[in-house]
Amino acid sequence: MSSTVLMTIISLTLLGLLSSVILYFIAQKFQVFEDPRIDEIQAILPAANCGGCGFAGCRNFAEALVKADTMDGLNCPVGGSGTMTAAARILGKEPVPADPMVAVLLCNGTPGNRPRTSKYDGASDCRITHNLYAGETDCAFGCVSHGDCVKVCSFDAMYMDNRTGLPVIIDEKCVACGLCVKACPRKIIELRKKAKKDRKLYVACANKDKGGPARRACKVACIACNKCLNVCEFGAIKIENNLAYIDALKCTFCRKCVSVCPTESILELNFPPPKAKAEVREATVNA
């Protein structure tokens, strides 16, 4: 009886030792080297897996960072410059600063501006409405108000304003991952360079129709009258497809275009009200 136990222990120990030796050599032979820096970088990335960097997830982005020669063109919009500097430190590379961006909606078709001409009672999905027809209003380019962008936003940075029927982007929460840009079937969400104090100046219209039909469909449509183009001193405005576009990189926020726009289609957001500005100036003079 005791010899059976002994034999079992001995044979199993020998078998174990033999297997461990074989496994050791196999592990040496087929070893896959993984840069430990990938794990390090992944640890500092936001782990949102949003795809804003253009890669499938944070792990893939970390791999790409380690593999790349320079950090040019690689940017995590969620983490921003802080994360990218930390990653550069780990890799011993020079960080390439990228402009922080924010999403803006190129439509201001509130019920007051854009009268409803039909009622849609189908499935609540922007893509279906877009495939089906121009939408509840006559504008075939503007927001169809089913909130596909809000549904895909994984940062809670958007909500649907029931009063205007348009999505609202919360600047503080938006990380410019671009998910909403991809989700919008009408392509009316744009990522623009974030300015000081979240100031925004852009043409809130995507209507490519000529002036007449565009204006009939919506009060605040861009009618491509060229007034803003002529008043801009910095060459920041161009007009294509009956639509003005303000280049965020060239714009100096002088706001001359806003005052000449006959349809009020250029939006200025987060600027101090002009009256308050005058008071401030007076106050400083008095002091």
Partner: protein, 448 residues
């Protein structure tokens, strides 16, 4: 036993209110707007400019490619503008607007009502005549007829099927055409048979139209090549694939066309248009449109000039009833509601259905309980609930392997769903995404 297709299908209420209504010629409209895209394929290119005087039947837009069709003026008058006008697609389309000054026809068109039976033109000439006259399929898809009648190299065609099923509820335009223009249609079929070089043609008609079956049967008694086949009433029998299966029990392969099983299917209305083009040199400038609805004062079948506004037709049929919920372009199953009554009748418009408010509302949507009713009604053996779920989750590749592009959009699944789920809406979306993906794939292949 009366034939029908074996799987799936539904029985929506018939509502053929205008089955006994003779085809009426309404007064000419004061102006017409003729869209440049009325057919499947590439838009036609306008050959007239503002201020031009045009005659009825004169060419105003040339085919923009092989899969495209010529467009002719349906009235005589002056081109007032070429502008974007909302049409039944719900979007603005480039259209030619003509103010009507009279009804002066181009002198090459034979307007004698006497029937010309002998076919002088050769097969090639028939195809050319169809191309010149802008003939497209009048069943709904508006596929250019000259393309369909040309058997591609390497394929064989041994049978022409004439679709006189008209399974859509409410619509009776084909029914009346077959009854009133039977002889012309038979001649049209013989012309198409000559173009296709086939010796056999079958006409499929659902047996809710016994008068038509009897009438065409009598006309075909002398002609042994053409036979009339009554079919059991079941929606969507008018779909090409279902009709082929019902008549000759051949199954069109997934992703294939009827020509893959040696068949060409043409609508009965198309046969009439081909007859007029070939024998009378008359381009496609008018078609029969059923204006119907339970609340309408006098629903009727009208012979309408292309480009006439729907609102003019409704006026002719007794005016728009007060409690109208939706105006549907096409039948209630496959048609699409229009946003305004001022959309023009195009080559593919087979009917206008006016629904009362209470008829038109969608039922509230509930959750899917996997009852499988949509699977049992699908005539193409698809799984609509699955296709909808895949589309909602953006699983486009999986949707492709589940044969989403085979869907003929008949709407039986949405009709039967006890939870009123918008199945077809999502399947249409999924289809367009799969097609988009396929296009991108071929583009990449061409690049590489």
């Amino acid at each position: 036993m009366i034939k029908t297709f074996p799987y799936g299908g539904t029985h929506p209420p018939d509502n053929k209110l205008t089955a006994d209504g003779k085809i009426v010629y309404p007064p000419l409209p004061s102006s017409v707007s003729i869209p440049l895209l009325q057919h499947a394929g590439i838009p036609a290119i306008s050959v007239v400019t503002k201020g031009d005087k045009v005659l009825t039947g004169q060419l105003i837009a040339k085919a923009g490619g092989f899969i495209s069709a010529n467009i002719h003026s349906s009235v005589s008058g002056v081109v007032t503008k070429i502008d974007k006008v909302t049409d039944s697609s719900g979007y603005k389309q480039e259209s030619i607007i003509i103010e009507v000054t009279g009804d002066e026809w181009k002198d090459t068109i034979d307007r004698d009502p006497a029937i010309r039976r002998e076919i002088i033109l050769s097969g090639e000439e028939i195809l050319n005549r169809c191309l010149e006259s802008g003939i497209v399929g009048l069943g709904g898809a508006a596929f250019p007829t000259h393309v369909k009648l040309k058997v591609p190299a390497g394929k064989k065609c041994d049978l022409l099927i004439i679709n006189g099923v008209e399974c859509e509820p409410y619509l009776t335009s084909d029914h009346r055409m077959m009854l009133e223009k039977g002889e012309e249609i038979i001649t049209g079929i013989l012309i198409m048979m000559k173009a296709l070089n086939v010796s056999r043609a079958m006409i499929g008609i659902e047996n809710n139209k016994p008068d038509t079956i009897e009438h065409l049967g009598k006309l075909c008694k002398e002609i042994s090549e053409i036979t009339v086949h009554p079919l059991k009433v079941k929606y969507p029998q008018g779909g090409e694939k279902q009709l082929i299966k019902a008549l000759i029990n051949r199954e069109v392969p997934s992703g294939g066309l009827p020509i893959d099983v040696g068949v060409v299917v043409q609508n009965a209305g198309t046969a009439f248009a081909v007859y007029e083009a070939v024998q009378k040199n008359k381009p496609l400038i008018e078609r029969v449109v059923t204006i119907t609805g339970k609340s309408l004062a006098s629903p009727s079948n009208y012979m309408v000039r292309i480009g006439t506004l729907v609102s003019d037709l409704i006026k002719a049929a007794g005016g728009l009833p007060e409690n109208t919920g939706k105006i549907i372009n096409g039948g209630p199953m496959m048609g699409k509601a229009v946003t305004t009554a001022d959309v023009p009748v195009v080559k593919a418009t087979s009917g206008i259905v006016i629904l009362k408010k209470e008829e038109s509302l969608r039922r509230p949507v509930g959750p899917c309980i996997r009852c499988g009713k949509c699977n049992t009604v699908c005539a193409l053996k698809l799984e609509p609930y699955l296709l909808m779920a895949l589309t909602r989750k953006d699983l486009t590749e999986r949707a492709e392997t589940e044969r989403i592009t085979d869907c003929c959009e008949c709407g039986s699944c949405s009709y039967i769903c006890p939870a009123a789920r918008p199945l077809l809406d999502y399947i249409r979306l999924g289809k367009s995404q799969v097609l988009q993906m396929k296009r991108e794939r071929t583009l990449e292949k061409n690049k590489a």
